[in-house]
Symmetry: C2
Subunit: 562 residues, 2 copies
Amino acid sequence: MAEAERKLNNGNSRIDFQTDPSKYRHWKLAVDGEVATLLMDVDEKGTLFEGYELKLNSYDLGVDIELADAIERLRFEHPQVKVILLRSGKPRVFCAGANIRMLAGATHAHKVNFCKFTNETRNGIEDASEVSGLFTICVINGTAAGGGYELALATDHIMLVDDGSSAVSLPELPLLAVLPGTGGLTRVTDKRKVRRDRADVFCTTEEGIKGRRAVDWRLVDEVVPSSRLEEAVAKRAREFTARSSRPAAGKGIALTPLKRERSADAVEYSTLSVEFERASRRATITLRGPEAPPPASAEAMVDAGAQFWPLRLVRELDDAILDIRANEFDTAAIIFKSSGDPAQVLAYDQFLEANKKHWLAREIRAFWKRVLKRVDLTSRSLVALVELGSCFAGTLAELVFASDRSYMLIGQRDGDNKPPASLVLAEVNFGAYPMPNGLSRLASRFLADAGALEKANRPIGEMLEAETAENLGLVTFALDDIDWEDEIRVFLEERASFSSDALTGLEANLRFGGPETMESKIFARLSAWQNWIFQRANAVGEEGALKRYGTGQKPAFDTRRV
Amino acid sequence: MAEAERKLNNGNSRIDFQTDPSKYRHWKLAVDGEVATLLMDVDEKGTLFEGYELKLNSYDLGVDIELADAIERLRFEHPQVKVILLRSGKPRVFCAGANIRMLAGATHAHKVNFCKFTNETRNGIEDASEVSGLFTICVINGTAAGGGYELALATDHIMLVDDGSSAVSLPELPLLAVLPGTGGLTRVTDKRKVRRDRADVFCTTEEGIKGRRAVDWRLVDEVVPSSRLEEAVAKRAREFTARSSRPAAGKGIALTPLKRERSADAVEYSTLSVEFERASRRATITLRGPEAPPPASAEAMVDAGAQFWPLRLVRELDDAILDIRANEFDTAAIIFKSSGDPAQVLAYDQFLEANKKHWLAREIRAFWKRVLKRVDLTSRSLVALVELGSCFAGTLAELVFASDRSYMLIGQRDGDNKPPASLVLAEVNFGAYPMPNGLSRLASRFLADAGALEKANRPIGEMLEAETAENLGLVTFALDDIDWEDEIRVFLEERASFSSDALTGLEANLRFGGPETMESKIFARLSAWQNWIFQRANAVGEEGALKRYGTGQKPAFDTRRV
C-alpha cells in the first residue's frame, strides 16, 4: 500500500527545517532601516526532491522553509523592521505557486504535510502583523498564480501593477483539478470578503483577473501604473511604518544554529530529547526545565539571546515536531514528558509576564503560541505523561492540555526519590496561547462548564498532585504506581493498532470544539476537502489533471459528482 | 474509473424519497394525544439495496427515508404532538447504527450522499425542537452504537437504562476505521460539550460507556433503573410537553402523495418541471408561480392543506433535489428557472408573514428553510437564470442567492412579449431562511459590506430590472439578448469540463463564508474528513476494516500517519 517517497536532492535521508540566510537559494533578504525587502528569486535547480525544476518562481517545501525562516529572523534579529516588501526577483512573474511536477510526483502524505506547513507559514505572516506590527506589503509585478496569489493573500496590502498583463489568479481548479489549498479559498471569502459568486468566477478563470476589476472585486488593494510603482510602494511603506508598534531601534538577537545531535533512535537537543521506539511506533519528547533562574532584567534576556531558556526550548520543540511530521510517518503517538523544577519554569513565565511589553518577550510568547498551535495541528496521537520529577507548569502545562489524553501518577514510586508528579497552572494558561479556534486550551477543555474553568483558575501557582488535578478535570486519568505501566502500555498498543487515517480524522474533530476562526476554517474545511481531492483519480490518477499537466494530453475525468 | 452501483432491492432503477406510514417497513408511528411514539423496528429483509440484511436495528438510506418522512408528518399532520418518544422495538438493542455490509459494498458517492441525507434528517429533528417545540426524548434500553447513538445525540433528552449492560458507544474508529460521520463527533464536543480527552476515550472504546459514568461524562442526560423506566419516561414526557409552544388542539393537514410524472428526460410535478439534458450534463428545474392569489384566511390555508401553493412547491422541490442528488450523479449543473407573476409570489410571502404565528405557516416556512439548506449542500453547480416572464421574488429569489452564479437578461427579446426579467426582494430575504452558517443568503453574499446589504434592503417589493440588480450586487452578470445564449452556453460547457471533485470542494468552500455553526461544522469539518476516510484503503481497501468486518480476518492497515 505504501507509496514511495521521492529522493531528496541533497542526498540526505531527512527533510531538515533548519536553515539561515547564508544558505538561502530562493530568497534574498535585504534590510534597510525600518523596511526589509524579501525578494523571491527561486533557483530552478535548488529543489528539495529530485525530478522537477522550480520554474517561474514556483515553490516546493524547501522554498517555504526558507520563507518561514526569513520571517522568524525578521521578528527576532531585526526588531526595528516594521514593513516587509514581498517582491519577485524575476521579470513578468511574481510567483507561479506550488510546483506542479513536485505535486504530481509527491506521496499523498507529503502533499498534505506540504500544504500544512505552507499554511502555517502564511498564518505566521499574519501573526507577525497582528502581534508584532511587522506588516507585509505584497508588490505584484507580473503574474501571481495559485499559491503565488495565496501568498499575497496572507499579506496586509496587495499592490498590483496595472500594465495590461499583470494579474492575480487561482487556476488550480481549471488547470489541475485541485483546490487552492493554502488558505486561498478561505481568505478570498473570509479575509478579503469577495462576493461568493465573484469568487466562483475568479476561481474558475484560468487567466485570472487584472487591473481595475481586481480592485473592484476586492482581490487586490490597489492597482498602480508601472511608471509610478516605486513611488507608490515607498508611500505605502511609509504609511504602514507609521502604524507599527515595533521598537524604533531595538537591538536584535541572533537565532544561532540549534544544538542537535542525531543518532539512529534519538535526537538530543540542549533542552529536550526525542527518543524513537520504532517497533512500537512511539516518539517520546522529554522537555527539560531551566537549569538556572531567569535573568535579572530584560537587557540580560537580550544578552542571553537564543540561549535564553524559553526561546531555546521553543525553537528546539518546533524543530522536533516538524522533524517527526515530515520524516517519521510511522510514528503513531508523540509522548510528552518533562523533567525539572516546576518552580523554575514558573519563574520564567513570571519573568516573561513582567516583561511582556518588551519586544523580545512578546516575540518569545508569540513563538510559543505558534509552536503550540503546530502541536495542535500535528497528525499524531498526543499523549502527556505527568510523572515523578516532571515540570509541567505554566507554559509547559499547555502540552498536557494540547494532548488527546493525559495520565498522571499518584503518589510516590518505590525506590524513587524524585518529587511527586505535579501540575501547576499559571496566568499564561488562561489566554496567552490561543488555539487555532481562538480559545485557550483550558477554555476548549471546559466548553461545557465555565465553572470548571473558574475552579481551575483558583489554584494558580499551586503544585497540584494527581488526584486534585483529576478532580479539577485537568488530566484524563490519575493512576497509582500499581496500574501505571500496564494501563499506559495497553493504551499505547491499542492506539497503534487503530487505523492511522481514522485517528487523523478523529483527532482533527475532537481537538477543536467550540468556535471557528479563519485559521481553523483553513485547516478544517479547506484542508480536509483538499486532502480528499488529493486522493481522487481526477487529480492524481494516471489520467488525472496533475499527472497530465504539461503533457499535451487532456486529463480524463470521472464526470460523476459525489 | 466508475464503481458499480448496487441493485435496488425493489427492482426499481431509482431511489425514491417518497413514502408514507402505510408503506413503512422499519418504523411504527403511534400518536396518543400530545405524545407520539416512534418505534424503530427494522425489518432485516427490507433493505434498499440487495446484498445485506439489516440486523440489530441497523439502517440504510431506506430506513432513514422513513424516519425523515415520519418527522415531517408529525410536524404537519399532527400539530398537537409535543413530544416524540424515540424507542426501539427490539429487545436489548436500541440501534446498531449504519449497516456495515451496506457501507462496505456501497460506492463512494452513495456513502457520501447517505451520510449527507442522514445528517439532514438529524438536523431536522433538532429543527423540529427549536422551531416548532416538537421535542424528542430518546429512550435507550439496550445498546445504542455508532449511528444509533448519533441518532440519540440529535434528540433533546437521552435516557439510558441502568441495567449493567445498556450502553452508548461510537465504535466506528476501533471497529471499522471510519468516523462517526453523522454528526457524532461534532455533537459530542459542541452540543453535549463532552471534555475532549473524555471524548477521545469514548470514541476509541468499542464497548462504549454505561451507567453513572455516561451521565458524568455528559454522554446521556440520565440513567434510570429498568423497573422505573416507564414512570420516568412519562415524567419527562410531561415536562417537555409543558414547555412546548405547539397548538393544544390544532387540526393537521394530510401530506398527500406528490403529483409526479416521470419520462425518460423529464419529471413533471404540479408546480415545477425538471428537464434533463444528459448529453450536456444539465438538469433544469423550472418553478412555476401560483395560479391563484393566496387564500383569504389561515383557516382557508389549512383547508387547502398540501395543495396550498408554497407547501406544494417546497415538497416538490425537495423531492426534485433529492432525486438528482441520489440518482443523477452525472449531472454537473442544476439550473433554476421560474415562470409566473412575481406579484403573486410576493402575495404568498406576505400571506405567510401575516400569519407567521399560525402553526401551519410556521411549519411551511421552516420547511422552506430546510429545503433551501438542502440546496446549499447539494454537490452540483447551481445556476440561476433570470429570464423574461420569471418570478424570482421573495422566497423564490433565495434560489438566485443560493446559486454559485446567476445571470439576468437585460431588456426585452425580439418577438417575445413576456414581461422583462425582474428580481424582487421581500422581508423574507433578510433573515427568515438562514443558511447552515446561520446567516441569511444576502448577508453571506455581502459579508464585506453591511452597506450593500442595507442598500439591497431599500427596494423591497420593487421589480428590479437586470442592470439595477447587477448594480445592487444581487446577480453575478446582467447580459443583453445578444450575449445571453452564447455566454451561458460557454459557461455551462466549461463547467461540465472541470473535475467534478474539484468543483465539489470549491463550492463547499465558497458557499459558506463567514461564521460557522454546529451544523456547518458537521457538513464541513466532519463530513469532509469522513469523505477522505471513505476513500482510504484502511477503511475501504480489500484488506480494510469495512471489508474485513465480520470475516474473522483482521484488517491490514497502512500504519503511516498523513
